[in-house]
């Protein structure tokens, strides 16, 4: 308690001292600051320009069990393990790994896992950490609200400690200055030596994290803002910024976990549904590495074109992906079995695989200079990748598979039609997926042979065919393709009681276009069986379509049948109305043709 009191007084003194400095500078984390049009942040930029932080360790830190921390280097170096109680996920910052638990934070050497220093925290949650090789900045969430910013030297001494009522995000350290996002829109630059806020920028994007990648400083949350010359125009919305293209994504993935949020030690559902992108420090205009964004969704991993948002590739992983990070030239993922996989940015091919050595509960990745190995093997075409992904019969994947199905429907590839047919006819398909596949099938204009094969099947309890083919959608497609071979198959479906009424209606409509003389007897049979028993609009419509086919194929022979039905009280009312219209139109046509001028 004494120590906490001392810390609080020291903090207040520090804030007071800060307020006595240059009147043009903002008071630390004060909200009465007026935007200075980039003046102070411009000065900060000048000060850190040329700062070259040492390369950070390329490392995957995994949590196994309750307290085991495993370091797996991505480059040279040996794997290491450490043991410490964990109340949150380890954070990799530069060349240290900060772990929190049991009322303390410990900085481990990222290369060896050995403890560098330990500081008590009073069990307040650790939110974020930044490091430049000399100084580690930590943000902690106070139980009474607000935050603590702790700056710790390599020897473990607390250089500065600030207490504030503001919600601070995850900090970064560059050129000896600490950059702290706060209140969701500001980033303050603090000088640990003077204990002053020496600059501030208002970012017109949500910012809760500051981080350094490849020697460049970025701020971000839902997008990335680069700390470059344009930062002085940030308050006018003209900072260098790159965001995720607007497109449908599987689930509701986040690009970054907000820096104000404590991340649990064990991966949860949000880790299985994430977005990844690596800001490209050298790009102009500012963009992401390899022009790719990535997403994971349980066992699926996606690559998207960053400019247009199109799906570039999708890979099906044997186990659920529980974490990862975009690296130069690709995406690194970790799965629950402790397998690390690097996917090539361009085509999703696997370029590297590595094992943590045991099943893991979560992972954190830092890839500063690591890049996906070049010379990636060729990957399957995206159509095949989609097909593989949508054929995985796992209900948890249905949301992402629906997205992929829509992608599949846009491909001019017969194998896409084949897959849609298979999904629509497989009883193991998730109902929403089967419904989507049906809808997409109706719009296909290729793959008729697959549709014809499917139409040849009927419900058959004895032979375990417990699902009818998607007769209606395929009828639409085959009629649009004018596929004459479909006629006998469609005619057989008129008499399949397991088909839905909608299927029968659409099959009949297709027969109105496709039926030949060979189908005429079946049309007549259907007309006889249903003209008096069609009790729904769909079935009445089916009867009318079949009557239309009869008239087209054999007007002379069919007209008396239809006219008799029109006069017969046994004919169902909805059928009667349609027959009336059909015959009236047919008579008008006939009259026009009989006229000497042909009705012109």
């Amino acid at each position: 308690v004494k120590r906490r009191g001392f810390v609080a007084v020291a903090g207040l003194l520090a804030l007071g001292a800060a307020s006595c400095g240059d009147p043009n500078r903002p008071k630390t984390f004060s909200s009465d600051w007026r935007d200075d049009q980039g003046k102070t942040i411009g000065e900060v930029l000048t000060r850190v320009r040329g700062a070259k932080p040492p390369p950070s360790t390329d490392l995957v830190v995994s949590v196994a069990g309750r307290d085991k921390i495993i370091g797996t280097p991505l480059g040279a170096g040996s794997p290491w393990t450490a043991t410490h109680a964990l109340d949150g996920r380890p954070i990799i910052a530069g060349n240290v790994v900060v772990v929190s638990g049991n009322g303390e934070v410990v900085a481990l050497d990222a290369a060896s896992g050995k403890a560098i220093w330990t500081r008590p925290t009073g069990n307040v949650p650790l939110l974020g950490a930044g490091d430049d090789g000399n100084l580690t900045a930590l943000t902690l969430s106070r139980s009474s609200g607000g935050s603590t910013l702790l700056m710790v030297g390599r020897d473990g001494t607390v250089v500065r400690q600030l207490e504030t009522e503001k919600a601070l995000g995850a900090p970064a350290v560059l050129g000896g200055l600490v950059f702290v996002p706060w209140a969701g829109q500001y980033v303050s630059a603090l000088d640990p030596q003077s204990n002053e806020e020496i600059g501030r920028v208002t970012v017109r994007e949500k910012v809760t994290r500051a981080f350094v990648v490849g020697g460049t400083l970025y701020f971000g949350d839902v997008s990335y803002v680069r700390f470059d010359d344009n930062i002085v125009r940030a308050s006018a919305g003209q900072a260098s910024k790159v965001g995720v293209p607007s497109r449908e994504l599987p689930g509701t993935p986040r690009l970054l976990v907000p820096g104000t949020e404590k991340i649990p030690a064990v991966a949860n559902a949000r880790d299985r549904d994430r977005l990844f992108g690596r800001p490209d420090g050298a790009s102009n205009p500012f963009g992401v590495d390899s022009n790719r964004f990535y997403a994971d969704y349980y066992k699926l991993v996606f690559g998207f074109d960053a400019a247009r948002g199109q799906l570039s590739w999708v890979r099906t992983h044997p186990d659920e992906v529980i974490g990862g990070e975009a690296v130069a030239g690709g995406l690194l993922t970790c799965d629950a079995q402790g397998k690390l996989t690097v996917f090539d940015a361009l085509n999703g091919a696997t370029t590297m695989e590595k094992s943590v050595g045991e099943p893991i509960a979560s992972c954190t990745v830092q890839a500063d200079t690591f890049r996906s190995p070049k010379g990636a093997p060729s990957a399957a075409p995206v159509a095949k990748q989609i097909i593989e992904a949508v054929q995985l019969r796992e209900p948890t994947l249905a949301t992402a598979q629906r997205l992929l199905l829509r992608e599949l429907a846009t491909l001019e590839d017969e194998s896409a039609t084949k897959t849609l047919v298979e999904i629509a006819t497989d009883p193991r398909s998730a109902p929403v997926l089967a419904a989507d596949a049906r809808a997409s099938l109706a719009t296909r204009r290729n793959g008729a042979s697959y549709m014809l094969t499917a139409l040849g099947k009927h419900y058959d309890f004895l032979h375990d065919v417990l699902m009818s083919p998607p007769v209606g959608p395929m009828s639409d497609a085959l009629a649009a393709m004018k596929e004459a071979k479909a006629a006998p198959l469609l005619a057989s479906h008129l008499f399949d009681p397991a088909d839905t009424e909608d299927d029968v209606k659409r099959a009949s409509a297709a027969l109105a276009v496709l039926a030949t003389d060979k189908e005429l007897p079946q049309c007549k049979q259907f007309f006889g069986m249903y003209r008096g028993t069609a009790s729904t609009e769909d079935m009445a419509s089916a009867v009318a379509s079949v009557a239309e086919a009869m008239l087209r194929l054999d007007a002379k022979g069919s007209r008396p049948i239809l006219e008799a039905a029109l006069k017969d009280s046994n004919t169902a009312l909805p059928v009667h109305a349609r027959l009336d219209t059909l015959l009236a139109a047919a008579n008008k046509d006939k009259d026009n043709k009989d006229k000497p001028d042909g009705g012109t």
Partner: protein, 286 residues
């Protein structure tokens, strides 16, 4: 005793509707007493007035004629083509069902073709009525339609089709009936028992322990009461031996029931086998 084909068919129909009524019914009784109608051809009825009504295009008249034909039964079979023609041209749902029932009552194979078509109708009541009627009209189309109906989405239709195939003595349908039995169409057991060849009867016996006992005994019962000309004493003794081997209380109950119903003319060997089996299974586990 020589049983006429008509008597045999009527007996079979009794079996069909007993079995169709309940999937897990009591073991089917032996097809011994077709008591309802006397043997021989039914007296012919003058159908001309009824046919005239059928051709009237007036629904009321048509329905009256259908009622009259149903009352006349098989004696009015010559009107079947006209009823079939009406169905082919189309009727309202109520009249359709009535016409189908009429064809069933007329028992004329000439009704089978149109009934086979209506056995695939979307309306369940129409489909059920058609399958039921087909077991009475027989004819070449009936067997094929009933075999097709074994795969119907409706369990009641599957059961009725299975029973119907036994009633029609559709021996070529036995393989399908076995598939149906494996798909829990329990009525198939009794039908198999009615028409199985020795090998097929063996196959049914082998189902003891694989399908519920009361289902398989529906077929074994049929085998045991078939005439010696169709099923040898050896086969019947084999069936009894297999049931005896189960040694359960329910097998004892089944065997006792068989013992009570054994006809006088049953061979002494079979009678003895039954007696021994009853004794051997007495006091068996439940």
């Amino acid at each position: 005793m020589r049983v006429s084909p008509t008597c045999r068919l009527l007996a079979a129909i009794v079996v069909v509707f007993t079995a169709a009524g309940s999937a897990l019914a009591e073991p089917t009784k032996p097809p011994a007493k077709p008591a309802a109608k006397p043997a021989g051809k039914p007296a012919k009825v003058d159908v001309a007035p009824m046919v005239a009504k059928l051709k009237s295009n007036d629904e009321t008249q048509i329905r009256t004629a259908l009622d009259q034909l149903r009352n006349a039964g098989a004696g009015a079979a010559s009107a079947a083509p006209q009823v079939a023609d009406l169905l082919g041209r189309g009727l309202s749902e109520t009249t359709t069902v009535q016409a189908i029932d009429t064809l069933g009552d007329l028992e004329s194979p000439e009704g089978s073709a149109v009934l086979a078509q209506y056995a695939g109708h979307r309306t369940l009541t129409i489909r059920r009525a058609s399958v039921k009627a087909l077991t009475r009209t027989r004819g070449p189309a009936a067997g094929a339609a009933l075999r097709h109906a074994l795969g119907d989405p409706d369990p009641q239709i599957r059961g009725a089709a299975a029973s119907g195939l036994g009633a029609l003595r559709a021996k070529d349908a036995v393989p399908d009936l076995f598939v149906a039995l494996d798909h829990r169409v329990n009525e198939a057991a009794a039908s198999i028992g009615q028409i199985c060849s020795p090998d097929q009867c063996d196959q049914l016996v082998a189902k003891i322990g694989k399908v519920p006992f009361d289902v398989v005994t529906g077929g074994l019962d049929q085998i045991l009461f078939r005439p010696s000309a169709e099923v040898s004493d050896e086969m019947k003794i084999k069936v009894l031996g297999q049931v005896r081997e189960t040694g359960t209380a329910e097998s004892n109950k089944f065997l006792k029931d068989i013992q009570k119903r054994l006809p006088k003319e049953t061979s002494p060997r079979v009678k003895q086998a039954v007696e021994q089996a009853v004794r051997a299974t007495a006091g068996g586990p439940q």
